[in-house]
Amino acid sequence: MDIKGKNVTLHDMSLRDGMHAKRHMISLDEMVNIATGLDEAGMPLIEVTHGDGLGGSSLNYGFPAHSDEEYLSAVIPKMKNARVSALLLPGIGTVDHLKMAKDLGVSTIRVATHCTEADVSEQHIGMAAKMEMDTVGFLMMAHMVSPEKILEQARLMESYGANCIYCTDSAGYMLPDEVTEKIGLLRSELNANTEVGFHGHHNMGMAIANSLAAIDAGARRIDGSVAGLGAGAGNTPLEVFVAVLDRMGVNSGVDLYKIMDVAEDRVVPMMDQPIRVDRDALTLGYAGVYSSFLLFAKRAEAKYGIQARDLLVELGRRGTVGGQEDMIEDLALTMAKEKGLI
């Protein structure tokens, strides 16, 4: 693979996707500490939101240690060069949240829908574009449909005003050839000035390889997370990815040693559990299940005595999508009843 000389924008997820791994309980000090470290390392974009995006604070997904407003207000004024993004899932957050984020200085809004439901994002993408924000359409669980379907949905988001479209491997299911095919089609068919991005999860151990395939196929924005802090087996670990990009001659503008130090000195010490491909995270990737289901399934296993792996496989079979965390306890209860455990 020759991707030498290309430029990529890296986008850190540790303070948003990482919220899943921390049960949304990252403290304000930890947020500021990590974000300033990333800023000093030259990370251009940092996402700060509840794991499930603006307005995600709920019994269903977890109440966070602090509100989105508090996190954004704490982090944004401390940034010297980095810009801050926020995620929004229509159906969970609303344009009111979006306006609040813009008022607090968020520069990039990422509107996320399931990969077949882009038309629920019209009002949010439209509003963000109207407010002249960097507006990203984020197509989740992109492994579930064909490249042509992804393109059709991407074009909808583009037509609403998105200037960048993401192919998002929320389940960490994709292998590099699939990434090549999907990103390649988006790159060749979307407007030339629409950027293309890729968001990976490491559940099958493919996050680095998939991200490289994405760059090779034309993606210019790559999501990752320092020390991999993210849902499931985590996101593409950025310190590793920066080292790989350095070796391959790709320009990311991020200082390798500095980001290694942020990972080791600031992120790893605050992890509640090692972020690794354990059997349940591997099951997410293998069965194609939304990565943030991981800790919910583990909790259901502890509470109802049904193996997390069995729950995740069944949820995959049923075609559950992002946001259906409530189905995990529901299914565990049903399975426990069938087995006579409750």
Binding site: L59, I92, E117, E122, Q123, R318, G319, G323, M327
Partner: protein, 302 residues
């Protein structure tokens, strides 16, 4: 003299047609008019074949016939944009309006919770909230009638095929309206609503999860009894309203997991979200008719 109230349906789309099919079985409501704007529409043709009078010029085509045909109740299944005008024109003539759009000019109505109160006051316009609201608010109310609920949250998961372009273009309206009704009708001090759209094939049945945080330790026995009673109340008009799991108690959190299967009249069975709207709308009109027939309320004089 027939005890049935004569009705008009405005909007011959999926909802209007499903409503018409349900209404044909009603002991209390007789469908007389179907109101549309496109003479060629399938919905109007179907209504005509089913013996209804048809307006192809919107509510204006119905207005001259309201008194001679003694239309007493109208169901608006169009859009929030035109509902206010429709309602004004028909209310003026003494027609009670059941609003199935998100306009919500009148008070929210969730039949087992507050319909009787609306009927007794002869509210001339009642709003049916949202599909997610109809499916979940009875459960919030089932908890809040036992003890104060500090926070109520509902998650509605619907099949992609069952939600139309109107809902999709303004999905914020769903979350806002439903959250408001969780508070105003459900009785939660603070409400939140989440909607998830799932494209699985074959389409999944509507699923709803209701979480409540009670102010003090939940009275498990009383809440469980109240939830089961409320399920039975909803089943009177939506037989496929099913308690799948719960109530489950975790500290002050009470969780209930529901499934809503439709009757499969015009809309497919998986579209329980649409069915519960039409069934609740019809149930609402029936209650007005029953109360009028029993002399409990007096309809606007003619």
């Amino acid at each position: 003299m027939s005890k049935k109230l004569k009705a008009a349906i405005i909007g011959p789309g999926n909802i209007g047609t499903d409503l018409l099919m349900k209404m044909q079985r009603s002991e209390w409501i007789e469908p007389v008019w179907m109101v549309g704007i496109d003479p060629e529409s399938e919905g109007l043709k179907r209504a005509r074949e089913m013996g209804l009078k048809v307006s192809t010029t919107g509510v204006d085509g119905l207005v001259p016939h309201v008194l001679e045909d003694d239309i007493r109740v109208a169901f608006d299944a169009t859009s929030a944009y035109v509902h206010a005008e429709n309602s004004r024109k028909l209310n003026e003539l003494g027609v009670i309006m059941v609003d199935l759009t998100p306009a919500a000019i009148g008070p929210f109505c969730v039949p087992p919770v507050n319909l009787k109160a609306h009927a007794e006051k002869v509210e001339m316009n009642v709003n049916m909230v949202t599909c997610g609201g109809q499916a979940t608010i009875p459960m919030v109310a089932a908890v809040s009638r036992v003890q104060p609920v500090e926070y109520g949250e509902i998650v509605a998961t619907v099949s992609s095929r069952s939600i139309g372009p109107g809902t999709r273009q303004n999905i914020d309206e769903f979350t806002r309206t439903t959250a408001g009704a969780v508070e105003q009708v459900g009785g939660a001090r603070k409400g939140k609503a989440i909607i998830i759209v799932n494209p699985a094939e074959p389409p999944l049945m509507m699923r709803d999860t209701i979480h409540c945080l009670t102010e003090s330790e939940p009275d498990q026995a009383a809440i469980t009894r109240s939830v089961h009673d409320m399920v039975k109340e909803v089943q009177k008009y939506v037989p496929g309203y099913k308690l799948v799991n719960g109530p489950v108690f975790d500290g002050n959190k009470v969780s209930v997991f529901m499934e809503v299967e439709g009757l499969g009249d015009f809309l497919p069975k998986y579209a329980g979200n649409l069915d519960i709207m039409t069934a609740a709308g019809l149930r609402t009109a029936e209650m007005f008719a029953e109360e009028a027939a029993n002399g409990v309320i007096e309809l606007p004089s003619r």
